[in-house]
């Protein structure tokens, strides 16, 4: 294979990976920042970074977690660079109200609102577990935490959601 063919193949593989994973990356970024403009910027910048370091991805079966990690870092970098203030959650809710009220099922909309209002420390592992399908050990690796801390956050995330949605209170903490 000559250099041109190799580059074409590399581009094809990267394009294919990104096309299939982009909706998940956008959702993840949106749930991190709760702002679609920020999510799009973060994902776009993440893809450019990913393309530049695509050769470091030795196992394409791990592309999703590799890209999610890049998105996490890019989100943190963007947040730091723009010195974004911790936004008022009611302002975020107002700005994203169409997405929050989109589900036809009232219970889904209610749950989406409750998750939206969760603190980031609970929201992020919940998204990684429930939406992305990662195990608690994998989440711990991605977030640079102990597995026990992830389990605690996940327990508390669900306890808060149950409370927000009017379920009986938890007894364990």
């Amino acid at each position: 294979m000559n250099r041109g063919d190799g580059d074409t193949d590399r581009r094809r593989r990267f394009g294919s990976l990104c096309e299939s994973l982009r909706p998940d990356l956008l959702r993840f970024a949106w749930w991190l920042g709760r702002d679609r403009g920020l999510a799009e910027d973060v994902v776009q910048e993440s893809m450019l970074r990913a393309w530049k370091s695509f050769d470091s991805l030795t196992d394409e079966g791990k592309a999703k977690s590799w890209l999610l990690t890049i998105v996490r870092r890019e989100f943190a970098r963007t947040f730091e660079k723009k010195r974004l203030e911790a936004a008022d959650v009611d302002a975020l809710v107002a700005a994203e109200s169409d997405l929050l009220s989109a589900p036809a099922d009232e219970r889904v909309a209610e749950m989406r609102n409750a998750i939206f209002r969760l603190d980031e420390e609970y929201r992020e592992p919940l998204v990684l577990q429930v939406l992305m399908g990662y195990s608690t050990q994998e989440i711990a690796d991605m977030m640079g935490m102990q597995q026990g801390a992830v389990l605690t956050r996940l327990f508390r995330a669900r306890a808060r959601l149950r409370q927000a949605l009017g379920f009986a209170a938890e007894t364990a903490t």
Binding site: G15, R22, P103, R112, Q129, V130, R158, L161, A172
Partner: protein
């Protein structure tokens, strides 16, 4: 034997956790078993809430790869690269229109996502009491005849805006996830293949049925046995 507190702490973090201790506690404590079922059901709701459909307004990934190459390309070839990027964006836009115009074609993906989300259920091994299975299937008026394999997991899950029975049946060839989708009519069988999982969605007398296994050499044969074992009622 774990306590109720320990059980609830564990399933509160991982509702689909299943091992000998969890299964033993479920058998001993009906309240905790109900609590775990409730959490599993709530996770279905959480998942649906998390699937936000964000409008695609920025460049596609393929276009981005082309754009990324622009910075390293000589000026003479930049116009060509931008043209490639633009055509890729246009191509993706056409693809998106086609996807939007055929939203129901995503059933195979939805089935796969649901099974992956509840992949812990595939690891369950303890056969469920018939009464528990009947409780899950009863509202849909269906029944699973004996002989196809032990049912080790049964839950009513949120799927596609409906509550549907989700079973794990341990066939002699291996465990399969079964989703009974009475609300979803399909014209012809569909296949699902991703990450080592393989499955089929088949038209059924009432709606459709999805059967998904992992690394199963004769999935079609297994799917037929499961399909034949379902009594769809009158």
């Amino acid at each position: 034997m774990i306590t109720c507190l320990e059980f609830r702490r564990r399933v509160g973090a991982e509702p689909f956790a299943s091992d000998a201790e969890i299964e033993a506690h479920r058998r001993e404590c009906a309240a905790c078993a109900r609590h775990q079922d409730e959490l599993r059901s709530m996770d279905g709701l959480i998942r649906r809430a998390l699937v936000v459909e964000l409008p695609v307004t920025t460049m596609s990934a393929k276009a981005l790869t082309a754009a990324a190459a622009v910075s390293a390309a000589p000026l003479a070839s930049r116009r060509r690269l931008f043209a490639i990027a633009a055509s890729l964006v246009a191509g993706v836009a056409v693809g998106l229109v086609l996807l939007v115009s055929a939203p129901r074609a995503s059933i195979a993906r939805e089935v796969f996502d649901h099974v992956m989300h509840e992949h812990g259920a595939m690891a369950t091994t303890a056969p469920l009491p018939p009464a528990e299975l009947a409780e899950v299937l009863g509202p849909d008026g269906v029944r699973l005849r004996s002989g196809v394999g032990d049912v080790t997991y049964a839950a009513r899950c949120h799927f596609d805006g409906h509550v549907v029975p989700h079973l794990v049946v341990r066939t002699p060839e291996g465990p399969v996830a079964v989703l009974m989708l009475r609300h979803r009519e399909i014209g012809k069988p569909m296949r699902i293949e991703d990450q080592g999982y393989e499955g089929v969605v088949l038209p059924a007398p009432k709606g459709s049925i999805a059967i998904v296994g992992k690394e199963m050499p004769d999935l079609d044969g297994v799917a037929k046995k499961v399909f034949d074992a379902v009594d769809w009622g009158g």
